[in-house]
């Protein structure tokens, strides 16, 4: 009798082990912050919000547990090893209506050029922004012109135009959220994102 029970137990364990499952682990990001991930199935939902917390999802979501570093290395080591570096980001600021960066920002250029030259296979996104003062369509054009100026400055500094891409967000992504029609120096900026 005993072996039979053991056998049934093994088969059950085997089936459970074979049921397809997804493991989701929340980990701190590059600066140590822990955000949230929402794990959902058609019938259930769970929010992970603790460091290294994980669930296993089959047709239902398991209880949440904490994953130790050793297990994490075994399950995700290869993927973690090739995660690209966190992109580097620089901000250049602009006077009202100006399309060229202010003096303080221009002084950052040599350091930015060096960062791009040292980066492994760099791609550079140049993202123009405006504050919310004035007309939205005009702000979009202004942000595009600002980004264009920065692109020229980088090109003059020896960066190939092939690796640069210009974007304009207008007043849609303020650094400091304001109401409409607000002149805000910190929002008149171009971000150089090196990735």
């Amino acid at each position: 009798m005993k072996p039979n029970i053991l056998m049934i137990f093994c088969i059950v364990a085997l089936i459970a082990a074979c049921a397809p499952k997804t493991t989701v682990v929340l980990v701190p990001d590059h600066d140590g912050r822990v955000g949230q991930v929402v794990v959902s199935t058609p019938t259930d939902e769970f929010v992970l919000d603790q460091e290294n917390q994980y669930v296993e999802v089959t047709d239902k979501i398991s209880a949440a547990k904490e994953m130790d570093q050793h297990t994490m290395g075994e399950l995700f080591g290869e993927a973690l090893a090739v995660l690209p570096e966190q992109p580097a980001s620089f901000l250049l600021y602009f006077e009202t209506n100006a399309v060229a960066p202010d003096h303080a920002s221009l002084e950052l250029l040599p350091g930015i050029l060096q960062t791009i030259k040292d980066w492994k296979a760099p791609q550079v996104s140049i993202i123009g922004h405006s504050d919310t003062a004035g007309d939205s369509v005009r702000n979009y054009k202004l942000s595009l012109e600002r980004a264009g100026t920065v692109r020229e400055l980088l090109e003059q500094g020896g960066i190939l135009s092939d690796i640069m891409e210009v974007f304009a967000y207008g007043d849609h992504d303020p650094l400091v959220p304001t109401g409409p029609n607000i002149s805000e120096p910190r929002n008149r900026r171009v971000e150089i994102l090196i990735r």
């Binding site: 991930v37 979501i61 290869e78 296979a121």
Partner: protein
């Protein structure tokens, strides 16, 4: 009426999408071992610097892995014996048009948020056969067994 809807659908599906799909949405950054990218019915070996487009499928062999970075700074790396489809990537802040759908069929991956998630968290969906993962500003690991 029915006919015009069908025609409109046809136009949307077969005329619009190939135009949009031409755009580069990111790049392969690091490759270890054997990794391929499938675009429609063409399969190429992934090399660092290679462009990615909407609809591309990344496949890794055993003991292989690949790291990619998207235009908005989102980073994803894929572990051994994996298959991942970038079903959609739309990042147009000026038009407030955002979408990011990943379909992971098998294997393991690491996800680290970029600007798209910051501007439109609800637009990011990382799907596996068992679950959909939504992101609120962070990094997570996924594995399908």
């Amino acid at each position: 009426m029915y006919r015009s809807i069908v025609t409109a659908l046809f136009v949307v599906l077969f005329w619009t999408s190939p135009v949009l799909a031409q755009e580069t949405i990111g790049n392969v950054k690091s490759v270890s071992g054997q990794v391929e990218v499938q675009r429609e019915d063409r399969i190429v070996t992934a090399i660092p610097g290679a462009n990615l487009r909407e609809g591309d499928i990344l496949r890794t062999a055993e003991n292989s892995a690949v790291g990619v970075i998207f235009l908005d700074g989102t980073r994803i790396s894929v572990g051994p014996a994996s298959e991942m489809v970038v079903s959609s990537f739309r990042f147009e802040p000026n038009n407030e048009n955002y979408s990011f759908d990943i379909h992971m069929k098998k294997g393991s991956a690491v996800y680290s948020s970029g600007k798209l998630e910051k501007l439109a968290p609800e637009a990011v969906k990382f799907n596996t056969p068992q679950t959909t993962v939504g992101v609120r500003g962070t990094k997570f690991l996924v594995r399908i067994d």
